[in-house]
């Protein structure tokens, strides 16, 4: 049923720390690796070794340049995957019931055997979290590694989403946002976690932590051209400078 659940028992999701992400794409690769062999159909690629490879990915890293008014620009690596929104527009637009949000843990999933591949859910999502699989022609999205987090066959430390498990910088955190004492709730409170595009009214579960303020540098003009210090040189070195200049 593509109506949203009236109550959510737990609200599982991710906190992504934009301060510590180094943009290494390890989470992207491990996500693809796990999810191509896990839940649902494999994550397909077309022309993977050719000139124009295209494929479905559940997690992608963008890199942005942020320019403050009074300081040099800085680079922010920006991982983006499904935010498992509380008011998920991708779920309610689905005509078949393939898209649903689970009441027990708030995870948004696609039942691929019911998906007709109309693509309307991807249109409804402002974040670009859903991608049509080019081989299976069904909608793919982050499952929050639902086949890992409850999997008793895995060692306990592996029962987190693949992206969280693999992140070498500790920039991704997994937990229950409905518990105010959980690791993710505390991170959001301590670091001022925020929503992406709150104006879209999607009430995302996943939160992002802002980059910590940069230390003010003494001078912002490091890249400015230095005046030519040799122009007024005199004596032997001045003569040598001019003679070498003339050699072209």
């Amino acid at each position: 049923m593509t109506s949203l659940p009236t109550a959510i028992e737990r609200s599982l999701g991710l906190v992504i720390d934009l301060d510590t992400c180094v943009g290494c794409h390890a989470c992207v690769v491990n996500c693809k690796e796990w999810n191509t062999g896990g839940y649902g159909a494999p994550l397909g690629d077309l022309d993977p070794y050719g000139d124009e490879p295209v494929g479905s990915w559940l997690n992608r890293i963008h890199t942005f340049e942020v320019t403050p008014e009074d300081a040099p620009a800085s680079i922010v690596h920006f991982p983006k995957s499904c935010l498992h929104c509380s008011d998920a527009p991708c779920v309610t637009v689905c005509p078949t019931g393939a898209s649903y949000k689970r009441s027990e843990d708030g995870i948004v999933l696609v039942d691929e055997s019911m998906c007709i591949g109309c693509g309307l859910c991807a249109w409804a999502c402002p974040y670009g979290a859903r991608e049509m699989d080019p081989v299976e022609n069904v909608m793919k999205k982050c499952t929050l590694c639902v086949d890992r987090i409850y999997n008793d066959n895995l060692p306990e430390e592996d029962r987190t989403p693949a992206c969280v498990r693999t992140c070498p910088a500790g920039a991704r955190h997994f937990g229950d946002f409905s518990d105010p004492e959980s690791n993710v709730s505390k991170l959001v409170e301590d670091r001022g976690g925020f929503d992406l595009m709150p104006e879209m009214g999607t009430a995302p579960v996943n939160k992002y932590l802002p980059p910590r303020p940069k230390q003010a540098t003494e001078s912002c003009g490091a890249s400015e051209a230095k005046p030519d210090e040799t122009a007024n040189a005199t004596g032997f070195l001045g003569w040598l400078d001019r003679a070498l200049e003339r050699l072209g």
Partner: protein
């Protein structure tokens, strides 16, 4: 947004079909006899059905399309499917009366006309409901869809009208002018609103998309991958809007000026209403261009993450 030919054909053709069904339903005069009844019903039903079948061509799994009838409680796409099938079923019953009893029950016709218009509203709501596409997210979108459905339906019904009195023919053609003007006036106001309704105007910018606005201005430095992906092909489609101004002029000339002049000529001369058949074809051709722009010019919020 990517202008998929199947969806353009679907929205234009089924809109015209349901418009004509509505006109037949409210009792537009038609030629007598079972053969005329059969051919007219085939045209109206055929347009609507051809559009609906075309809409399944862009599905990844058309063989599962029947599942789309299940979620009418929450999904406009599902509602559209249910309403279309219900309207066509009742229209089939209506056509049986028309063919075999030789009469057109008005009570059933009015119900069918109502359902046909609601179906067109549901089609429009598939797009209107998307907050991610500010161009579409307006009450004007269903008004435009209904306006064009009624315009197509009226012009087609007028072309099929067997009226012999030339002053009555002039009145019917004059009404066609009015209907065309109203429909395109709605579209003009839709275009006017779209011109003012950017993503930034509804409060979405690269700064809100990344949440980094508190630090400074945000600009994409590197895309996630060097190539294209589903999102950029489907929702960050920029080629289609390159010639937007020219295409808009073509849509207006073909879909508005041409059918208006033909209708006006018939209204003044009281000539044969069959000329409105040509006006109908021009209108449909213009609407294909109009609908291309409806998709191609629409910007999706995800484009903010791709710096385009």
């Amino acid at each position: 947004m990517h202008p998929a030919i199947s969806v353009i054909f679907f929205t234009v053709t089924s809109g015209a079909g349901f418009g004509l069904i509505a006109m037949i339903g409210v009792g537009a005069p038609m030629s007598q006899g079972p053969l005329a009844a059969f051919l007219i019903s085939l045209l109206a039903g055929g347009l609507a059905v051809a559009g609906l079948i075309s809409s399944t061509f862009h599905l990844g799994h058309p063989e599962r399309a029947w599942r789309a009838f299940s979620q009418w409680r929450s999904s406009w796409l599902s509602r559209e499917g249910v309403l279309a099938v219900a309207t066509l079923f009742l229209f089939g019953v209506y056509v049986l009366f028309w063919l075999f009893a030789g009469n057109r029950p008005l009570w059933l016709g009015v119900l069918i006309a109502f359902l046909a218009i609601v179906t067109v509203v549901a089609t429009a709501m598939i797009y209107t409901q998307l907050r991610t596409v500010p161009h579409w997210n307006s009450i004007l979108t269903p008004l435009v869809y209904v306006g064009f459905a009624i315009a197509c339906g009226y012009v087609a019904a007028a072309a099929l009208n067997p009226e012999t009195n030339s002053s009555d023919r002039a009145t019917i053609a004059g009404m066609a002018c009015l209907v065309l003007i109203v429909a395109w006036a709605l579209k003009m106001s839709w275009w006017h609103r779209a011109g003012r309704t950017s993503l930034a105007a509804v409060g979405s910018t690269p700064e809100t998309a990344t949440g980094l606005g508190a630090i400074g201005r945000v600009r994409l430095l590197e895309s996630p991958h060097s190539g294209e992906n589903y999102l950029t092909r489907e929702m960050v489609h920029v080629i289609g809007r390159k010639h937007a101004a020219k295409l808009r002029a073509i849509a207006l000339t073909t879909g508005f000026a041409a059918p208006l002049l033909i209708s006006l000529a018939v209204a003044i001369s009281g000539g044969p209403l069959a000329w409105l058949g040509v006006a109908f074809v021009c209108l449909i051709a213009g609407l294909f261009v109009e609908r291309w722009l409806f998709f191609a010019e629409a910007r999706h919020a995800v484009s903010l993450y791709y710096g385009r």
